[in-house]
């Protein structure tokens, strides 16, 4: 039976995939970043439709920030950020098409032909869900949660140290002065 929830999931799902496709079809890098932002926002809307309010809001907030930063980097690093020159920036398109399509067909086959068992029709209230998630994070999954935190810290330090320009050696600086 088609419910309102199914209609909204279908609508936001089509939007997420459509904007995902636009990411690789437009020549403008800023448009690419904005299309990815819309795709991720549609995904967040799907989470909200599936009554995962906390995750939906988190997804939208996180991706809005992430994609804004990405847009800045796109403008900085691309040779033709506005896409005015319609530069071709792809390779091995045929192989990519085949692998992408095969992945899609394989995943759809698994989704459709596997018997997923009984489906839950009701879900706990938002406040109860968030409380259960908090207890999970600070209880049984504490180690995994802490590992994620430490990994983020490590990645931040690693990314910053990689991005900082190397210091010139004292010998070279001395020679340059002479």
């Amino acid at each position: 039976m088609i419910t309102a929830q199914a209609i909204f999931i279908g609508f936001f799902g089509v939007a997420a995939v459509w904007f995902g496709v636009v990411v690789f079809r437009t020549f403008s890098m800023v448009r690419s970043a904005i299309a990815l932002l819309f795709s991720q926002t549609a995904l967040g809307a799907m989470f909200l439709t599936m009554q995962a309010e906390f995750l939906g809001v988190l997804q939208i907030m996180m991706m809005a920030t992430e994609m804004s930063i990405m847009a800045f980097f796109m403008v900085m690093f691309m040779m033709d950020p506005g896409g005015m020159g319609k530069m071709e920036m792809t390779h091995q398109k045929r192989l990519s098409w085949i692998v992408g399509l095969a992945s899609f067909v394989g995943a759809v086959a698994i989704a459709v032909f596997i018997d997923w068992g009984p489906v839950a029709t009701t879900v706990a209230e938002t406040a109860e869900q968030t409380e259960a998630l908090g207890l999970e994070l600070l209880g049984r999954s504490m180690l995994i949660f802490e590992m994620a935190g430490v990994t983020i810290l490590t990645a931040m330090i690693a990314a910053t140290s990689v991005a900082i320009p190397p210091m010139p050696s004292p010998e070279k600086t001395h020679k340059d002065k002479v």
Partner: protein
């Protein structure tokens, strides 16, 4: 079988396929990262759908989503760090010009 679950899984499959296409076909590092983001987005929607329609009483399902979101943020942070280093040394983040990294 639930229509909602199947549609969510098909969306995940489509995002995964589009992401794979992008990650393989693009020559620019930032665009490749966008492909990886879409692959992870496909995983995210699957995890939320499995939690919602199969095990809504188990909070660990939502925790997996948080872990994947963490991986997305890490991928961006490290990827941009590498992109800055590469751009600073070679003036480009085109992967076709990065063949010397193999040597």
């Amino acid at each position: 079988m639930s229509v909602e679950l199947i549609w969510a899984l098909i969306t995940g499959a489509a995002l995964f396929g589009v992401g794979i296409y992008g990650a393989l076909s693009q020559t620019n590092l930032v665009m490749i990262m966008m492909g990886v983001e879409l692959i992870l987005a496909g995983a995210l929607i699957n995890l939320v759908a499995f939690w919602r329609y199969l095990h809504p009483d188990v909070a660990a399902g939502q925790m997996f989503v948080l872990i994947v979101m963490t991986v997305m943020a890490l991928e961006m942070a490290v990827g941009f760090g590498v992109a800055i280093a590469r751009f600073r040394s070679k003036g480009s983040v085109e992967m076709e010009e990065a063949a010397e990294l193999r040597e």
